[in-house]
Amino acid sequence: DYKPVPPLSQTSPAQNSVAQNNIFYNDAKWSSMWYIHCSDDVHNCQSDMNIMGAWKRGYTGKDVVVTILDDGIERTHPDLSQNYDPQASYDVNSNDLDPMPRYDATNENKHGTRCAGEVAAAANNSHCIVGIAYNARIGGVRMLDGDVTDMVEARSLSLNPQHIDIYSASWGPDDDGKTVDGPATLARQAFENGIRMGRKGRGSVFVWASGNGGRSRDHCSCDGYTNSIYTISISSTAESGRKPWYLEECSSTLTTTYSSGENYDRKIITTDLRHRCTDSHTGTSASAPMAAAIIALALEANPSLTWRDVQHIIVKTSRAGHLSASDWKTNAAGYNVSHLYGFGLMDAEAMVKEAEQWKQVPAQHVCVETADRQISRTIRPEHLVRSVYKATGCSDNANLKVIYLEHVVVRITITHPRRGDLSINLTSPSGTKSQLLANRLFDHSMEGFKNWEFMTTHCWGEKAAGDWILEIYDTPSQLRSQKVPGKLKEWSLVLYGTSVHPYSTQQKDRFIDPLQPEDEFTEEYNGPCDTECNENGCEGPGPHHCINCLHYFLKFKNNTRMCVSECPSGFFRDDRKRCKKCSSMCETCVGSRSDQCMSCRTGYHLIEGSNTCAVSCADGFYLDSDSNICRRCQENCRRCSASNVCTECKPGMSLQGHKCQMTCNPGTYFNGHRRTCELCHRACATCAGTGIEACTKCADGYLLEDWRCVLTCSPGYYLSELTSDNGQVQRFCKKCDNSCFECLGPGELNCSSCNSGYNLEAGTCVVSTVCKDESWAEGGFCVLVKKNNLCQRRVLQQLCCRTCSQKG
């Protein structure tokens, strides 16, 4: 069973790394491969993928076959030719056996060759780099350099499944932030066939690069390939641990490897087209092949690992390390997980160690729980729809029962006028919240989601039964013209997992030192163990006698331990299943710091956003008594009531209605769109907006006429003055009486000119027409016409000429 360590350096001591037993190769860019030399003093990185550690254990990918589904592979590249495997290769675009890429002036088809080098570039051949699985066999499928159809994808994904162990794909649907697409019928069939029958029944391993649409605010849950339970979705982190600009986040990501990041982060180097070497390989395309290679090391350590075993080992061994994300959380099974990085950075050495002694996990059960089929729920703008479903985990059917979760899929149908305004969360019975979908700014589609499957890995290891909460938010963007509500048509929950604890079959041999005399050992206890002890047994009946705990443990000052099913109030569980104390003010927490509280002890309130506890809510917050949380007041509000009604604004703001808006100087108004004070029209002393129509008070020299400020009164208006209580004289233009064309004052006796057909007589406008014959209407009717001031109407004026002409 001995596996030889790869050959050591044959070059000068100056080229050796500091540690005495470090590996050294003469490949041209070997010293630049910082993600492999992590642990030495020269390259030092904050978290290590421990590739060197796996190599030192003798695992280099020997007898493992990896294929790159892409635009071809330069099999003649000096760093790839040694490990090239024609049986793991095909040209689907040209339908022949040679996957050599098509060469052109732009080197468009370099992608596959770059991915391949990361996996299995030969070691110690002076060329370029060393692949992480440098003894693996590497092939390529040319399938992107032509029309990509469902059939092309299926042919690629089902190439020689008894020979190929790992399929690595660094492509997918458009990452433009508005596409929802995934594998069609044949590709899905290829996945299912692969995991059922590939690798002689152990299942093909599909590794997929997560989306690169970070700039487009894309969300990888809209990519059906990374969203699939059959693929291992890989994220990237930069050397600094920061999120690269291209990274998307979603709940289906499983794990992370290094890639390039900002200009100051070190780059990934790999083989390039035309026998070259490059440091331009970037994005999640650089991460997926790394992950494929690390999985190859694990498969060499244990070739009988199934496709699910591989995912379990990844979940168990990946670490948060220095990866920076604001949403790291510990799920109820004790795993740290985030939407950016899944379960964290891959650890090659830990994976091979687990693989060496791994026992296959129990059979997968699939439990479909149809939550909401009958009732269509309306999703109103700026509202939340919450649907709670009490899952049983199919406990009544032994063949379907799921107790311990792996993947969770929500199949959902929604109609909506603007898909990008939707966000969807799922909360497990244990309280783990997965963001299944975030708002996508550029997704203006009206197609909604039709039976789309969102997947989360965040509940891995948790219990399936209990209340599952689906929440759908509609946050209308400014670009949305219709405020038509959407509808949640139906949703169902698909739980994948096992009915038996997946690790209950893992055996650990107890170490027995043959040199220790027998009477040094305590007498063995054969009685029953406490229910909180795991399969390793106990030395007594109590929970403090367990050798290892099934769930969590408390450690006391006298160094003893006690196994518990849940951490008590005031404690949190760390990634080693130990219950540790929260900060003194926290009742529940995710860490020991004072800013890691989830709820507070009696007498304290949780501060929204900071996760700290305080005795009272500070300025800018109000107490939500129902949840005992100090929530933020509205923007710019200094103090607000318990129902979040603002009562006092911050300096420089004034309360207008219930909102705080900037107080602008006279002559300016607050532009809510640009959020600045802008000048009023010159005719306005104060105003409510732009333009002469928005004046609320006129500038000096201007007169208010209806809603406008004018220099002089328009025809049909007269200048009026009003003295206010404080002695101020206000001058404004008032409309003349209807009988006047122009006037000097109010009423019908102050006309200065008349409409046509009327004569001005002593300040009054009278009908000027000469009456002809007396009309039939003269009499009571015409008296009424004159009384009601209708003589101005031409028809009536003619009809009642005589009566209208009379004064009075």
Binding site: N95, V148, D150, M151, A154, L186, N193, G283
Partner: protein, 87 residues
């Protein structure tokens, strides 16, 4: 911006029970050429029709469409070009 309309090709994926001989016979009857099994997918065949439009925004209709009426044809789908980007 890239074309949003579906682009149909002159390739079909067909599921036919009974083996390659049956698939060959049905293909010949309707003017297709049987290009063989699709990868490792049992009973799934790649049919190519040289007399239909190579790329079209409309799905192909004609005498060859009657293939779907054949009892042994369990499923048939004209292949559509998918937009896929390298990451």
């Amino acid at each position: 911006p890239p074309c949003k309309a579906r682009l149909y090709t002159n390739h079909w994926a067909v599921r036919i029970a009974g083996g390659p001989e049956v698939a060959d016979r049905i293909a010949e009857k309707y003017g297709y050429r049987n290009m063989g099994q699709i990868g490792d997918l049992k009973d799934h065949y790649h049919f190519f029709h040289s007399r239909t439009i190579k790329r079209s925004t409309l799905s192909s209709r004609g005498r060859h469409s009657f293939i779907s009426m054949e009892p042994k044809v369990e499923w048939i789908e004209q292949q559509v070009v998918k937009r896929r980007i390298k990451r």
